[in-house]
């Protein structure tokens, strides 16, 4: 089961996890990753832009790739877009599997791809205005683990 969404409003991880768990009563383990806007330095706000024809399609393909690589019962990819503040949830990934190692690896894989390889454009507002962001070197090396 694939549950892939781009959210224009709030991401509420608790209810999303409750629903995902209820949808997979047969799964022995569910691993989730919740990413939040980090209160780094003087970042006042963050805006994420997407382009639906590419962004959603890319997330669907990422979910399919994870389902192909690991024996999963289900995968969830929810990503916020639009304006956010430090501390706001921005991404939730969850993988349900019979065995926990598969769930851990699939969630880790999905996050590494979403962080550096997904069709999102991000800008941060600091005291001196808005700045467009590119992935960190760490994100690229994380991604290279899976190739």
């Amino acid at each position: 089961m694939k549950d892939v969404r781009i959210l224009h409003g709030e991401l509420a991880p608790g209810p999303a996890m409750t629903a995902f768990s209820a949808a997979h009563p047969e799964s022995g383990g569910i691993v989730s990753f919740l990413g939040k806007v980090r209160p780094d330095g003087d970042v006042e706000a963050l805006e994420l832009k997407h382009y639906a024809p590419l962004t959603l399609k890319g997330m669907e393909e990422l979910a399919d790739e994870a389902l192909t690589r690991w024996p999963l019962d289900g995968i969830l990819l929810h990503h916020r877009t639009g304006a956010m503040k430090p501390g706001d949830p921005i991404v939730l990934v969850a993988a349900a599997a019979r065995h926990r190692r598969d769930a851990f690896e699939a969630a880790d894989f999905a996050m590494d791809h979403l962080k550096s390889d997904a069709w999102f454009w991000k800008r941060e507002k600091r005291a001196d205005g808005w700045h467009w962001i590119e992935p960190r070197a760490q994100d690229h090396s994380d991604l290279a683990r899976w190739t």
Partner: protein, 80 residues
Amino acid sequence: MAVKLVFLGKLADLAGAPEKDVPGPLDWHGLLAALPGPLGEAINGERIKLAVNGAVLPDKTALAAEDGDEIALLPPVSGG
């Protein structure tokens, strides 16, 4: 009907708007001609990709868009 250009990320700042309609048909040289100044220069750079109707072009200079098509101008992604 026209060709719709969609500017993503910092390209929207350079364009001064998220979208622009230009008359079709439109090829690569027509696109550059329709986007003079810093925007045209940016798009010429190898890190900018083009997608037509949601499909990324392997070679953006092979662009061939008709009226009703949507061209997305894609700077490097930030990731999520």
